[in-house]
Amino acid sequence: MALDIPAGITKALELIFTGDPELYGVVYRSLLFSGIAVILATLWGTPIAMLISLREFRGKNLVKTFFTSLIGIPTVVLGLVLFLAFSNGGPLGFLGLLFTPGGIIIGEAILVTPIIISIAASAIEAVDPDIMNLAKTLGASESQASVAVLKEAVNGVLLSNVASFNRAIAELGVALLVGGNVAGLTDVLTTAISRYTARAEISFAIALGILLMVLVFLINLIVLLARKTKMFVTMWRSP
């Protein structure tokens, strides 16, 4: 059967502009899962980045190299590992996360953690080493001084968040294998595109593809503008 591509595109635009609920349900889940995943990864990744960059310890470079190389892990491999871990017979099967939104969120958080750690650690290392001592001599405790360093690295931390969000929203492997692509429950932009394409429902696939590209573009544009106007920086650093 030959695909009518022009008709597919026309239908896709119609779906987008009429606000098709099925279509936007997928977009909503993508934003939600990726957003929560990035928040989780930031919560546990930033302290690790601070430890790596501010403490001197043996094997520090090895640890850094380890996280940097994990950035490029094929998502389908991580998806497989997590599928096995979360499956009934797997070590984490009891959590019941397989084919659930929670499973995707955890999986994507793990996927982007190395990005958060690597970028944030580099940013923190680039901060003037005297900032720590400065904060301390002004009376800051060890943890308050660390926060002062983190604030100086805010641009880098923000960049790590954006890079992570881009990676999470655009990845397929983890969402497909851990989420199971259950329509209306765990399907996200990438997995839904693959499903509709396989079913030859190209109008939906094209609409989702366009929306995914628009989202990625918009996020980067907002960040670019925010960095230019220092909006985030001012928000974060206001007294």
């Binding site: 900032i131 400065l134 001599t137 009376g139 405790s141 604030k151 650093r237």
Partner: protein
């Protein structure tokens, strides 16, 4: 006399290198103590130990009658504040920089606003609250750093070369602030300097430091009056030379500091003396000037360092002289490395120690 802080047999090593060697030093309440010594003599390390941000390798640190356990130094840090030589600022507004220490102390906001205002007034930066700190000039940045320490009203204020990178106007202002704080708020001050003039006028006592050891401690008059052999080590500071002084029939004396450099001075001393010429008292010209200056030497520029509004030059006339001129003069004269220049200074500008 009450002792604010004390170092007892303090030694500090970094790997193989001994930076401080058995330092014993008492800092009396209400005094200004200058640590005078060349770069790398250990002044900064002493200040960091007194600020409790550097741990002594051995020995004891006392603060207000208590020994300081470095692992529990947080409460002591609240009372002793260091201003670094290289200005370090948080990348935020002047207000947030100055307010930082107060916020950490959980001071109420209304008090913070008032105190920050007062501190900025002291360093004559009133109205600068909203300006991004890193966009200020070098002198203004250093004054923000000083205000940020003053606002905390520390028991012990530590200043590392507070005027080293400043132009004369900013330097004078900072010195005035230090004197005022000490006089009016009774703040105990320890400042590290290699500027002999600063050491002579500002402090009540001077501790001479060289190679990680304290060699003399005393009042400025005592220290400068005594012709200590240690002063020779200050040659690295710049413009300090030693030589034999021979009185002339004109009521002056000529000090032969070697390599054919004979410096005329007004003090009629004879024998071995040290002489010091303030870099700002030296006039630089491209041709020999006809002037009242008794000392004129021809040399070449061997080093140029940019200090912002000022430019510091090293001129080799047989002996190396440090000369400070404004950036504007430097640009107008079109000077560069290896350029041939003349330096001139009056006999009365030479300090004989």
């Amino acid at each position: 006399m009450t002792v604010t802080a004390e170092l007892r047999n303090v030694t500090k090593t970094f790997g193989e290198k001994t930076v401080l060697d058995n330092i014993n030093l008492e800092i009396n309440e209400g005094e200004i103590l200058a640590l005078l010594g060349p770069n790398g003599s250990g002044k900064t390390t002493i200040l960091k130990i007194l600020a409790f941000i550097e741990n002594a390798t051995s020995g004891e640190v006392w603060f207000q009658g208590e020994t300081v356990d470095f692992k529990r130094a947080e409460k002591f840090r609240l009372q002793s504040t260091l201003v670094f030589q290289r200005t370090v600022l948080f990348d935020t507004s002047v207000f947030n920089n100055v307010a930082y220490g107060l916020k950490v102390r959980k001071t109420p906001k209304s008090v913070i606003d008032e105190e920050v205002k007062n501190a900025l007034r002291m360093v004559r930066l009133q109205g600068f609250e909203k300006r991004p700190a890193k966009k200020l000039s070098g002198g203004e940045q250093q004054r923000v750093a000083i205000a940020r320490a003053l606002v905390l009203k520390p028991k012990l204020l530590l200043l590392d070369e507070p005027t080293a990178n400043l132009d004369p106007k900013n330097a004078a202002m900072v010195e005035e602030v230090i004197a005022t704080v000490n006089r009016e708020m009774k703040t105990t001050v320890v400042l590290a300097t290699h500027n002999m003039f600063q050491a002579k006028t500002l402090p009540h006592r001077i501790a001479l430091i060289s190679d990680g050891r304290i060699t003399e401690v005393g009042a400025p008059a005592e220290i400068f009056g005594m012709l200590s052999r240690n002063l020779a080590s200050f040659a690295v500071v710049g413009n300090t030379f030693t030589g034999n002084s021979v009185p002339t029939s004109e009521g002056t004396a000529v000090v032969d500091v070697g390599n054919g450099v004979r410096i005329e001075v007004t003090a009629q001393k004879s024998g071995e003396v040290s002489v010091f010429i303030n870099p700002q008292d030296i006039i630089l010209s491209k041709t020999a000037l006809e002037s009242s200056a008794r000392n004129v030497f021809k040399g070449t520029i061997t080093e140029i360092s940019d200090l912002g509004a000022l430019v510091k030059l090293k001129v080799d006339v047989g002996k190396p002289f440090s000369v400070q001129i404004t950036k504007r003069s430097f640009l107008q004269m079109g000077l560069n490395l290896n350029a041939e220049v003349f330096i001139a200074f009056k006999a009365s500008s030479v300090q004989v120690l």
